[in-house]
Symmetry: C2
Subunit: 179 residues, 2 copies
Amino acid sequence: MALGKDYDYAAQECSIARALEIIGERWTLLVMRDALYGVRRFNHFAEHLRIPRAVLAARLRSLTEAGLLEKHRYQRTPPRHEYLPTERGRDLWPVLRSLGLWGRACPPGTQPLRTFHHARCGTELGSYGECPHCATAVPPCEVETRPGPGAVSAPGDPVGRALRAPRLLLQPFEIEDPM
Amino acid sequence: MALGKDYDYAAQECSIARALEIIGERWTLLVMRDALYGVRRFNHFAEHLRIPRAVLAARLRSLTEAGLLEKHRYQRTPPRHEYLPTERGRDLWPVLRSLGLWGRACPPGTQPLRTFHHARCGTELGSYGECPHCATAVPPCEVETRPGPGAVSAPGDPVGRALRAPRLLLQPFEIEDPM
């Protein structure tokens, strides 16, 4: 847990502290970001995040235990699993959106690396994840992500390459698994 | 920095990773939460967060260096400083709001410890800190925080006690400094 067990959450009376207890650990939010992008398989998380495999295994386990991801077997022999975001996991979308919007502006003047749009009408989402055109909150399954003007380098991993084209959040990646 | 210097942010092409580099470190978001509540003085942060003083000093320093807090001298002899959130720091409000709203729901059925309202109209804020009634983003200076039905214990520190009554964010606490 990110804040240590000696931390008195009850005395803090704060849902932010509670949230950080679950998702404040290093890598956790980036794993959830990838899960919302549609990443489901261990190797794809590992390649896209460049995260040590032991750390990734631990994070996937604790996110599954915390009810943010659900583990499904997609192949019987040899057994292979994938991780899908639960409703609780998908509910992190506003956190990821607001974090991303804040991070976009550092350093000031930075071009966005990625933009997010309401898939139905193409309008870029507003600062609270709403569609200004349709005047509604937009759930992640209706969000299209597109590479922004700040995206310059060419990522070498399959997930990074797939994300160079517009795509819906939560849509699984069609990537051949070498293993 | 939270993710370590070996982490290749540029390859990640992600503003969330950039944001976590600055605010992903343990305690940092809770220090910024308190700063948005209106906490300005070292002792008040220390008492309310129950954070080791050396860790607090390090976080205040790095947040000041990162441009999220600004250090002001409010007393000449002996010299005393306070920390005020900059515009960049106040821009974290949607992140804190969405994190808090997400954390409120764990475990499911939890009563809110604190609610946040648009001070002008009293409407409870939406998931990104927007006012659903006025259909606008609400800056933290227009946000009123109120103790929610889940707030049961009586915090012993002066900031915690002051937060048991409705109050505007960013408003400085009128607390006698014992030092």
